[in-house]
C-alpha cells in the first residue's frame, strides 16, 4: 500500500538530510506506530505519505502511484488522509458538519451524497449528536475526533496521524485511540500512528523506531519493547509495565520481558506472588 525506496529528504541542498535510507512497506489494514523523540524525523516522514513533502532522493509509492507525479496529487491525498497534532488548526468551518463536509466539497461530490457520507463519518467516530455544534465549544478529544471524521469522509485507504494525542488530556487520548482501533478493525483502514507515547504504540501490529532520520528498529511491539536498554539508548521510554518487568528481572525475579499491558502484568505478577 505504501512503499518507500531509499527515501531521503533535505530542506535545503546544502543541509544534512532530515531523513535518509528509509525503506518501508506498509500493507493494507495494518496498524503501524512510528516512534522517535523530537527531531528524529518522524513528522517529516509522515508528510511524505501524502505528498505534502516530496522526496529529495529515492521515491514514495502509494499503491504504485509515485508521489512526485503531480497529476496524481489529489488521488494520493484522497487515499492517504492526515490528522495533525493541534485540532484547532485543522478545523475550517464554524459548524461541525460543515467541517466534516469540507473535503467532499473540495472534491465536487454532489450535495445529497455529501450529506450521507458526513452522517456516516460522524456516526463512525461517535460524534453524531454534535453535528450542529460550534467546534470551539467542544473538548480536545471531541475536536480531534471531528478532525478524524473530516478525513474519514474522503473514505481514505489509510489515515496518517501525527501525534494526534499530544495536546489532549487522558480522557481525550483514550477517545482518540479507541476510535483509531475501531476504524482499523471494523472499517479496515490502515492506520499509521506517529507518537511518542509508548502506551499508544502497544496497540500497533508493527512498530518502527526512528532516530536521527533513520529507522533503527522494526518489529512487533513485544519485540521492540523487550529491548529496554536499546530503547533508552536512543532517548525513548518503554511502557511502564515493561519497565517494571525489566527492573524485576534485574533483581533476579523470573518474569517474561514482553509484557506490554496492565492486564498482562497483572497475570504475570499474580503468578509470581502466589
Amino acid at each position: 500500500m505504501i512503499k518507500t525506496k531509499n527515501l531521503e529528504f533535505k530542506y535545503n541542498v546544502d543541509l544534512d538530510p532530515v531523513i535518509k535510507n528509509i525503506n518501508i512497506n506498509i500493507k493494507k489494514g495494518e496498524f503501524v506506530a512510528v516512534l522517535g523523540h523530537n527531531g528524529s524525523g518522524k513528522s517529516t516522514l509522515a508528510k511524505h505519505f501524502n505528498a505534502i513533502l516530496l522526496p529529495s532522493g529515492g521515491a514514495v509509492y502509494i499503491r504504485g502511484m509515485d508521489t512526485r507525479n503531480e497529476n496524481l496529487l489529489y488521488e494520493i491525498r484522497r487515499e492517504i488522509g492526515m490528522v495533525f497534532q493541534n485540532p484547532d488548526n485543522q478545523i475550517v468551518a464554524t459548524i461541525v458538519e460543515e467541517d466534516v463536509a469540507f473535503a467532499l466539497e473540495n472534491l465536487g461530490v454532489p450535495s445529497q451524497e455529501i450529506r450521507k457520507t458526513v452522517d456516516w463519518a460522524l456516526e463512525t467516530v461517535g460524534m453524531s449528536e454534535y453535528k450542529k455544534h460550534a467546534p470551539h465549544l467542544l473538548s480536545g478529544g471531541q475536536k480531534q475526533r471531528i478532525a478524524i471524521a473530516g478525513i474519514l469522509a474522503m473514505k481514505p485507504e489509510c489515515i496518517v496521524l501525527d501525534e494526534p494525542t499530544a495536546m489532549l488530556d487522558p480522557i481525550g487520548r483514550g477517545e482518540v485511540i479507541n476510535t483509531l482501533k475501531r476504524l482499523n478493525k471494523s472499517e479496515e483502514i490502515t492506520i499509521i500512528l506517529i507518537t511518542h507515547n509508548m502506551d499508544e504504540a502497544v496497540f500497533a501490529h508493527r512498530v518502527l523506531v526512528m532516530n536521527d532520520g533513520e529507522i533503527i528498529k522494526e518489529g512487533t511491539p513485544a519485540d521492540v519493547f523487550s529491548d529496554v536498554e536499546g530503547m533508552k539508548s536512543v532517548g525513548l521510554d518503554v511502557p511502564q509495565v515493561t519497565e517494571l518487568m525489566y527492573e524485576l528481572r534485574k533483581e533476579g525475579i523470573d518474569v517474561p520481558q514482553d509484557v506490554l499491558t496492565i492486564e498482562q502484568a497483572y497475570e504475570v505478577l499474580s503468578e509470581v506472588l502466589c
Binding site: 495533525f84 484547532d88 475550517v92 469540507f102 466539497e105 472534491l107 455529501i114
Partner: protein, 266 residues
C-alpha cells in the same frame, strides 16, 4: 473582559426570517437601507417603524436584544443630532450668540436620528437572524457576477469564513497570553494611553507569531483535504430560493411602494 466582544452576533432560531435565503436577505436589507433615505415625512417614518417592528416580531429575536445594538452608537447619534440642530439654515426660532435654532434644523435632526436608529435596527436584524457561514455564503453568491470580471469571490468568502472561525480561538489565546504576562508582572490597566499601548506589545507579538503558525498548519491541513480553490466545488447545503423568499421580496416591494406614495401625500 474579552468575552464581551460580540461579532457575528447570531441569535439561533427557526423563524420565517431565519429561514430566508442569505443572499435574498442581504439584497432586501440593502433595499431597506435605501428606503430609509427615501423617506421625506413623518408618515413615512411611522410606516417604517411599523414595518421594522413587524419584522422583529416575526423573527422571534427579543426586541430588547435588537435595541441593545443602538447603545454603543448613542453618543454618535446625539452628536449628529446636535450638529444638525444648529448647522441647518432656515427660519430662525431662537438665537444665542452664534447658535441658531431653526425650524428646518429641528426636523432635520429628528430625521437624522431616526435614520441612524433604523439603519442599526435593520442591519443588526440581518446579523441576528443569519449565521456567519450563511452570510459569507450569501456574499459569495452575491458577488458571483463580479467573479467573471476577475474578482476572487470564492477566496474572499473563504477568508471571511476562516476569520470568523478563528475569532473565538484567537480570543481565547489572547486571554491566555494576557494572563501569562500578567502573572509575570505585566500591567495592562494603568497609565496613560501611550503607556497602555506600549503594554500591549508583549501581548501582540506572541499573538501574531502564533496566528502565523496556525495559518501555516491550517493551510497544510486544508491541502490534505484536497483544497484547490473554488473550482468545481460543491456545497453540503445547496441554497435554493423558495416561496418564502419570493413572499419576502413582494412584501418589501409593497412596502417600498407604500413609502413612495406616502412621500407624495406629505
Amino acid at each position: 473582559m474579552l468575552k464581551d466582544i460580540t461579532l457575528g452576533q447570531y441569535f439561533p432560531g427557526n423563524s420565517f426570517i431565519h429561514r430566508l435565503d442569505a443572499m435574498i436577505k442581504l439584497i432586501l436589507s440593502a433595499v431597506y437601507l435605501v428606503i430609509i433615505f427615501l423617506i421625506k415625512n413623518f408618515y413615512g417614518y411611522g410606516l417604517l417603524a411599523a414595518f421594522t417592528l413587524f419584522t422583529i416580531i416575526i423573527s422571534t429575536v427579543p426586541l430588547k436584544f435588537v435595541l441593545k445594538g443602538i447603545k454603543p452608537l448613542l453618543w454618535f447619534i446625539i452628536f449628529t443630532a446636535i450638529l444638525n440642530l444648529f448647522m441647518t439654515g432656515g427660519t430662525v426660532i431662537w438665537q444665542f450668540g452664534f447658535l441658531k435654532l431653526t425650524k428646518e434644523g429641528i426636523s432635520f435632526a429628528v430625521f437624522m436620528m431616526l435614520r441612524i436608529v433604523f439603519l442599526v435596527l435593520g442591519t443588526s436584524l440581518l446579523t441576528y437572524t443569519t449565521s456567519p457561514i450563511a452570510l459569507t455564503d450569501g456574499i459569495e453568491r452575491l458577488l458571483t457576477p463580479f467573479g467573471k470580471m476577475g474578482l476572487p469571490t470564492h477566496e474572499l468568502a473563504m477568508m471571511m469564513s476562516i476569520a470568523l472561525r478563528f475569532i473565538p480561538t484567537l480570543l481565547e489565546e489572547t486571554d491566555k497570553i494576557m494572563k501569562a504576562q500578567m502573572a509575570r508582572g505585566a500591567d495592562f490597566q494603568s497609565g496613560n494611553l501611550i503607556k497602555r499601548a506600549k503594554a500591549l506589545i508583549p501581548l501582540l507579538v506572541p499573538l501574531f507569531i502564533s496566528a502565523f503558525r496556525r495559518a501555516d498548519e491550517l493551510a497544510i491541513a486544508m491541502e490534505c483535504r484536497c483544497y484547490r480553490g473554488g473550482k468545481n466545488r460543491t456545497r453540503l447545503n445547496e441554497s435554493k430560493i423558495g416561496y418564502p423568499d419570493i413572499i419576502a421580496c413582494v412584501f418589501v416591494l409593497l412596502f417600498a411602494l407604500a413609502i413612495i406614495s406616502v412621500n407624495k401625500a406629505g
